[in-house]
């Protein structure tokens, strides 16, 4: 069986085209780049409605380029000028027919309908806040209920003039204070509505400075609320969010050691002479970079080392008293004299992740160029030669963007360390069944629950191998499946004596006339060969029996990565019911009155939640 790493080379022939990094180069090469990027295979089509409170034409072109570079083929709807509310409230036929997956509201501080009057009391200002919120929530709710699309909404940037000087930020009638109140309200709404995500232009504007963010000539000539440079930053920001929405954010940071994680070359200088620590400017900068990397690990990004060093020397670096990073922070460790692309391939295979999940960071431009050239799916940011800029160079690219932080994310690194222990245990058993038995596996299987929606969406969009149909859905669509009585949904969590694998499998299907057609069946490669698919099938059959469903229909849609499940339905005892020229096969299973469970090794826990769900 090919690994995820090997397979991903066939699928994403994508990123052989790297985007230029400066605005002038992007503007010059945009048309040519777009043509080249559109030749890529396996682009994921996404329909985006851009509803503008100002001119959106330049932003559309920038966003298109960034999305194509990320392997996404966008189709756009653009509202008429400043018709972001009207197009929704008056149900523009073109917008409604367009059926967007994502609706993006390109609004800025200029779209606030009313600012407070000078010296208005706080109660009156609060009313204005509520009125402005109502203008927005009215539109958001209509998009949700009638279009079912995910919403990306800009929060508010700041004007670059302060009538009241520093009082603007303090008095409730000050414009700055009012905009910050609205931003707090937007954030509050987003926290409680998972189908709406905030595009933080307040931060983007601060990052580049208000004078660079808003270009006055661009406003007067074209009614562009933001300058071309700002448009570039916003397009990059939005592309990162779209990647996150489809579960395609990257998962693993691969790091060089010498002059990347510490100052100096450990093989030559020895651990005691490394620059690391607060008593030296460079040392402090390396320390802060280690803090950044550690923080990434804490929020679920896997760390790996890829260094040209004797393994012993490399490990010793982490014994430095000021080292924030420790050996056990790393899920993979390659220190040898082999070429780095080879090492990175091995890391991908070890961790069973795709090359397109990885980011490689190295201070040496020659190493960066080699990896970039031989492994185009790996992201290789130009971190420059100055350690003080490394973190920003990584952060700016939005590789690890999230739509939500879930508990499973925080323990991802732990899973990978416990996997090494599992592998060692497996090697010690002669009989595979005995090994499975020894794992003391338990599974929690039930219908989709709100608390798991983000992780379920992530799995649906990221899983390639054990995936019967490779259909992709946004979180808004998954949420509507969960609430639809015409759908049967199942998630599966698996734990064993070495640790919790988290939520690893998803099944969803439509029911009509007492026949269930399976639309989605996928399972994370984390839990291959544990018979979890049998536990899921047992649960599915039980649900069908309870609902009086007499037949289950399964469809296998071949992709470049899912050949391993081409015979899956046959192995469960389904009968072949035809095939198409494109390789699609159809299978049927008559739900028996008396069913013998196939799962032999996994204890199905009847949690209180499940009992309620099955009632």
């Amino acid at each position: 069986m090919k690994t995820d790493a090997e397979n991903s080379n066939e699928v994403r022939s994508a990123a052989t085209v790297k985007l230029p990094t400066t605005l002038p180069e992007i503007l010059r090469k945009r048309e040519a780049l777009k043509k080249e990027l559109q030749q890529q295979e396996n682009l994921l089509p996404v329909r985006i409605a851009m509803l503008g409170g100002s001119t959106t034409s330049e932003l559309r072109k920038m966003l298109e380029l960034f999305l194509l570079a990320d392997g996404i083929q966008p189709a756009f709807y653009e509202s008429g000028y400043n018709r972001y509310r009207d197009d929704v409230l008056f149900e523009s036929p073109e917008l409604w027919e367009f059926k967007p997956d994502i609706v993006f509201f390109h609004t800025t501080w200029r779209n606030v309908s009313q600012f407070p009057e000078l010296l208005e009391d706080e109660a009156r200002v609060e009313q204005r806040v509520e009125a402005e919120m109502a203008r927005f929530t009215g539109v958001w709710e209509k998009v949700q209920s009638e279009l079912g699309a995910l919403i990306l909404q800009n929060n508010f940037d700041l004007p670059n003039l302060r009538l009241l000087g520093n009082l603007e930020a303090v008095q409730s009638f000050g414009r700055v204070n009012f905009l910050m109140r609205l931003n707090a309200e937007f954030a509050h709404y987003a926290r409680s509505h998972s189908h709406l995500l905030i595009s933080d232009i307040h931060y983007l504007a601060a990052e580049m400075g208000l004078d660079n963010w808003a270009g006055s000539h661009y406003w007067y000539n074209f009614h562009m609320a933001i300058s071309p440079a700002a448009t570039l930053a916003l397009a990059r920001n939005l592309a990162g969010m779209v990647q996150a929405v489809y579960g395609r954010s990257r998962k693993c940071l691969v790091l060089d050691l010498d002059n990347t994680l510490w100052g100096g070359v450990i093989g030559d200088d020895g651990v005691q002479n490394l620059l690391l620590g607060r008593d030296h400017p460079l040392g402090e900068a390396y320390l802060d970079f280690q803090h950044y990397v550690k923080d990434l690990k804490r929020r679920g990004i896997l760390l790996a080392v890829c260094s040209k060093n004797e393994a012993e020397n490399a490990r010793e670096g982490f014994l430095h008293p000021d080292s924030i990073l420790k050996l056990d922070d790393f899920s993979a460790f390659k220190a040898n004299w082999n070429a780095k692309p080879e090492n990175i391939r091995e890391i991908a295979a070890e961790l069973n992740i795709g090359l397109d999940s990885m980011v490689f960071v190295d201070d040496n431009p020659a190493e960066r160029a080699l990896v970039s050239d031989q492994l185009p799916e790996v992201a290789v940011p130009d971190i420059g030669a100055d350690v003080a800029g490394y973190a920003k160079a990584i952060d700016r690219e939005r590789y690890f963007e999230l739509t939500k932080l879930v508990a499973d994310d925080l323990s991802r690194s732990d899973f990978y360390s416990s996997n090494a222990t599992r592998a060692a245990a497996e090697a010690s058993f002669a009989d595979y069944g005995e090994f499975l038995s020894s794992l003391d596996m338990s599974a929690e299987i039930g219908p989709f629950m709100p608390v798991y929606l983000e992780r379920i969406t992530q799995l649906i969009n990221k899983t390639n191998q054990f995936n019967l149909t490779t259909r992709r859905y946004t979180s808004a669509e998954v949420q509507s499946m969960a609430g639809d009585p015409g759908w049967v949904t199942l998630y599966g969590r698996l734990a064993d004596c070495f640790g919790d694998n988290g939520l690893v499998s998803v099944i969803a299907g439509r029911v009509e006339d007492k026949i269930l057609e399976v639309d989605l069946w996928l399972m994370s490669c984390r839990v291959f060969k544990r018979e979890m698919e049998f536990a899921m099938f047992d649960a599915l059959v039980e649900r069908c029996q309870a609902l009086g469903i007499h037949k289950i229909v399964g469809v296998f849609v071949p992709s470049k990565k899912n050949a391993i499940v081409s015979g899956f339905y046959a192995s469960l005892g389904f009968q072949s019911a035809g095939s198409k020229d494109n390789g699609e096969t159809r299978w049927e299973y008559a739900v028996p009155q008396c069913y013998t469970p196939k799962n032999r090794y996994i204890l199905r826990s009847a949690s209180a939640l499940m009992a309620v769900a099955n009632a």
Partner: protein, 81 residues
């Protein structure tokens, strides 16, 4: 920047082979010319070459020649700001 440099920038923005534009074309008859082309051109002129197109007149340009005149680029090189 010189006249020919400016024209080459325009060729790039429009995705045309370098040397296509001669300077007498009507803007709305140019292949690939749309509302964003002017924005890109102004942005390139400003960030790269310090050429600032005056507020008045940009949206009134209807030919490539108009743009060249507005940007004050000539056959001889103009010193960048």
């Amino acid at each position: 920047m010189t006249r020919s440099e400016f024209l080459l920038e325009m060729d790039d923005i429009l995705g045309l082979p370098g040397g296509t534009l001669q300077g007498n074309e009507k803007l709305d008859e140019l292949q690939n010319w749309d509302s964003t082309s002017l924005i890109s051109l102004i942005s390139l002129a400003e960030t790269n070459n310090g050429v600032s197109l005056p507020l008045q007149g940009v949206v009134d340009c209807s030919t490539v020649g108009d743009l060249l005149r507005l940007a004050q680029v000539d056959d001889e090189a103009v010193a960048s700001v």
